[in-house]
């Protein structure tokens, strides 16, 4: 066999392995979709085994779950929580990261150790006191409770400290000679240069908020005040063995994020890859 033919055969084998893997990755999603459109009796029929929904596709699974769980509210709650956390995290982390990365001030090292401390301990250690604070303020089951632990970010601060440190000094020095204040140098000159870090932290913060289940379960037990992730836990408990409806609910919870991911996949993958396994 010639060299070219051998290369082609190798590439073929590689593709076969990767395609089998890809089928394994997609199968659960496919099964979720197929189940969501079946009737309950089709989903649990033993003999015959229905792979595809038979007859009409059962869209009513979606409408029933949508109505009984007020999915519109869940989408709104989740979206507002994500948006507020992203805004707050970006605002505070860029400023703080700039100060730690670019400015000189007494106590810098000691203050930065607070940032490092937060990153080193497991996050579960914060949860009970955070819950008690929200509870004492009588703010359980509010949008505030959902956003609360995510208003500042140690990881984001660290990320931006690195991002600002890696930028060249010259531009900023020129701006200083031209009479720019610290704030102008930060907001007009340096910040626009950290675009990829902004995108990464934005995506990371949004995804973290969207995926987190324990916090909303604790502070927002009211099904109309909670997020998609936490509502799914309740949904599984309530609809029990009605698998088509459970799958319809799960599908509705992941579809919007999936669409955004498919559009911005490059930014998503880069953003998550820099998160250091915290997702």
């Amino acid at each position: 066999m010639g060299y070219k033919a051998k290369q082609k055969l190798n590439a073929g084998i590689v593709h076969i392995v990767l395609i089998i893997g890809a089928i394994g990755m997609l199968a659960p999603f496919l099964w979720m979709v197929l189940t969501a459109f079946k009737s309950k009796s089709q989903a649990i029929s033993v003999d015959p085994f229905y792979f595809l929904p038979q007859g009409a596709w059962h869209f009513e699974n979606f409408t029933e779950v949508w109505n009984s769980y007020n999915f519109l509210r869940l989408y709104i709650n989740t979206l507002i929580m994500m948006a507020l956390r992203v805004l707050s995290a970006l605002l505070t982390a860029t400023m703080c990261g700039y100060a730690f990365g670019r400015l000189e001030f007494p106590g810098k090292k000691a203050l930065f150790s607070i940032v490092l401390l937060q990153m080193m301990v497991p996050s579960q250690i914060f949860i009970i006191p955070q819950y008690l604070m929200v509870s004492k303020m009588h703010l359980l089951n509010t949008q505030f409770a959902l956003v609360f632990p995510g208003v500042v970010t140690a990881f984001g601060t660290y990320l931006f400290k690195q991002a600002f440190q890696s930028l060249p000094r010259e531009m900023e020095e020129a701006a200083e000679l031209d009479g720019c204040s610290v704030f102008q140098r930060f907001s007009l000159i340096m910040l626009p240069l950290t675009r990829s870090a902004l995108v990464s932290l934005g995506i990371f913060t949004a995804l973290f908020a969207y995926k987190d289940m324990m916090w909303p379960m604790i502070v927002a037990s009211d099904p109309s005040k909670t997020t998609l992730s936490a509502a799914l836990a309740k949904l599984q408990g309530q609809f029990g063995s009605n698998y088509p409806q459970i799958m319809a609910g799960a599908l509705m919870a992941i579809i919007p994020m999936m669409v955004i991911y498919l559009i911005f996949q490059k930014q998503f993958i880069e953003g998550i890859a820099t998160s250091g396994g915290k997702l």
Binding site: T35, Q118, F126, L207, Q236, Y243, L251, Y261, A273
Partner: protein, 297 residues
């Protein structure tokens, strides 16, 4: 002579701006993270009254209970087993995937997009579909295999179910990081190895693995720390009342159960302090191995 705190007006101006810039984050971290660490530590020495109210100082009561609680060694064992299996399988499989994908072909980004998909999904939704596939009577898995195994309720298989979902979920993430590491290895190294007569497998173990070791070390360490905090998957996949829960529940699950289902925040705090110490110890052990096998250039 004592060094002046602010040698010039300019330095004072810069410091003033800096304090203003760090204030929001640091005040937030103090309230949301620093105070809670101290508070959790204090709570771990308290007895919690009815309805989770009226904490009274009780010394080492919670820690004495922790030492005697058979759930603690069991949940530690469950968590370690999960971490070991999940991290080792996920990283080996994703290493194979990364090596396969690391070549000139157009479909790379398609594969990457597909393998990465679970990372952007709510773990609750992922757990739900897997639980349905694992269903003993009507699940896809038993139908395809022609078996009737109670995957998620049998104590011997339930932990495997959770591990499989954990591996499946993390393949894409590890693959992306390893692929990045592979692409940083200069091609000359392989050419030099080939000239010396090294086979593909020799090159893999003597060129790829050593040069990839910083990336490998990073994903092993962060992977293990993440796996030690396992919660969502057992919570969603295994029934709370199932006897299989005993062999699956993680330390974080135990923490959640005591703190928020039973309202025993004092004991919950002791569990989470204990967990922090365990994670710190494991992290230290992992870092001690670093010098032996990780090569930084």
């Amino acid at each position: 002579m004592k060094k002046k705190l602010f040698p010039s007006p300019r330095a004072w101006k810069e410091a003033k701006a800096a304090y203003l810039f760090v204030a929001p984050t640091l005040i937030g971290l103090l309230i949301l993270n620093f105070y809670p660490i101290i508070s959790t530590f204090y709570l771990s020495f308290c007895k919690t009254g009815d309805f989770g109210l009226n904490n009274t100082f009780a010394g080492l009561v919670n820690y004495a209970r922790l030492i005697r609680d058979p759930d603690i060694p069991q949940s530690l064992l469950n968590t370690f087993r999960y971490a070991l299996v999940q991290v080792s399988f996920s990283i080996s499989l994703s290493l194979v995937l990364a090596v396969l994908v690391n070549r000139k072909m157009r479909a790379v980004s398609v594969y990457r997009t597909i393998y990465f998909l679970p990372m952007i999904c709510a773990p609750a939704a992922i757990a739900m579909v897997w639980r349905w596939m694992f269903n003993s009577d009507f699940g896809l898995l038993n139908k395809l295999l022609g078996t009737h195994i109670s995957w998620t309720t049998n104590p011997n298989t339930a932990w495997l179910c959770v591990a499989v979902v954990g591996i499946w979920s993390s393949l894409g993430y590890n693959m992306v990081l390893l692929l990045g590491g592979l692409q940083d290895i200069p091609k000359d190294y392989y050419e030099a190895a080939a000239i010396d007569g090294a086979s593909g497998i020799d090159a893999f173990f003597h060129v790829t693995i050593p040069l990839l070791s910083p990336t490998l070390f990073f994903i092993i360490q962060t992977g293990i720390i993440g796996a030690l905090q396992l919660f969502d998957l057992p919570y969603m996949i295994i029934d709370e009342s199932s006897r299989a829960m005993g062999t699956v529940k993680s330390v974080t699950y135990l923490f959640y159960q005591h703190s928020f289902m039973k309202g025993e925040r004092g004991y919950g705090s002791a569990i989470v302090i204990f967990m922090m110490l365990v994670i710190a110890l494991i992290t230290w052990l992992i870092q001690r191995t670093e010098k032996r096998w990780v090569h930084y250039n």
